[in-house]
């Protein structure tokens, strides 16, 4: 008997039960990857961790590569959600935006997600196809709201862009410092020093 087994496992739309299960699987996969890393991920171990056989992962995603693509995409969407919550409060001063961004990013509950971010950067810089899309939005996606905040504060467009890029890089560098050293107090002090330089003495 010939079936359509495994070839067209749905289009991924969210309105059918298939897409629901698929979405739940990829969510669980991102959680597992955020906790255990993506470098030496195997379908069998992932399946065992989230309660399905590796056969099911192939069934729903076609191949490991496509599953990795979806994992990266979902991880990016989580980061983007973090970002969108920033824009929804237009009354904030740039300093408040920066503090809010810093506080959200350094939430201990997000440490796994941030580690995954740096891990994906490493893979993307090597050209791993499923991680390369990370590089596209790495700077530009985050620059826009920061530039908006700077121009709203009165900076000219060129300076606003430079300052936004600088602020983003500093946050990322201090985040890497925090993940590597765990020295929360020292990193926070450096961040305060930055805010003093960036927005003037207060």
């Amino acid at each position: 008997m010939v079936t359509t087994d495994d070839l067209p496992p749905g289009d991924g739309s969210a309105h059918d039960a298939h897409g629901d299960r698929r979405a739940r699987l990829v969510d669980a996969a991102v959680d597992h990857v955020a906790a255990h890393g993506i470098a030496d991920l195997s379908l069998r171990r992932l399946g065992a961790a989230i309660g399905v056989s590796h056969r099911m992962l192939i069934h729903y995603f076609g191949s490991k590569e496509q599953l990795l693509v979806e994992i990266v995409r979902t991880s990016e969407r989580r980061q983007r959600d973090l970002l969108s919550r920033l824009r929804q409060e237009p009354g904030l001063s740039p300093a408040d935006v920066a503090r809010s961004l810093w506080q959200r990013l350094t939430d201990p509950g997000l440490a796994g997600q941030e580690r995954l971010f740096f891990e994906l950067c490493g893979h993307a810089l090597r050209g791993r196809p499923e991680a390369v899309p990370v590089l596209d939005g790495l700077v530009t996606d985050w620059l826009e709201p920061l530039v908006d905040a700077e121009t709203a504060a009165g900076a000219d467009p060129v300076t606003a862009r430079n300052r936004a890029r600088l602020g983003l890089a500093t946050v990322r560098g201090l985040l890497l410092d925090l993940l590597a050293t765990g020295d929360r107090a020292g990193v926070d002090a450096a961040m305060e020093e930055f805010l003093r330089l960036y927005y003037g003495a207060q």
Copy 2:
């Protein structure tokens, strides 16, 4: 016939031919890893790339894990050499130290080494044993000369440490930006903006 095959392959001292060959192998391995990444390294492919059989890599290093340890150690030594050249010019102002550091780090010829640095950070943050030592010196090793430059410029110890930590993080963040976007002009402009904030208008 019983031989001592593979069990004591020399102590790694550099004064014998064995150590020489070993050092040449690990140097070639670091070059290959800087160019092609360390994530999916296999002894067979590495051996084929540097002209030996994977059997030889096991012979000289005992196991893949020990070879990875040596690769990481050598890569760290190269970074340290970069750093030591900074200290040898004690007459530099902090701004000059920062510019010099930035120029050296962003040399296009070192892009592979810098990519390897971020890749190793990703692995180290996941607890991969051969990469974990990277985390130890990630901040502290680089902080010392920067703190020295700050105190020599008149900053009090606490502020000097915060400013040094901030400067290091900013350089790292902008370096990641540069590797991801390739936008040299944009990143350089952001760096200039940082130097303006950091050392005052000039």
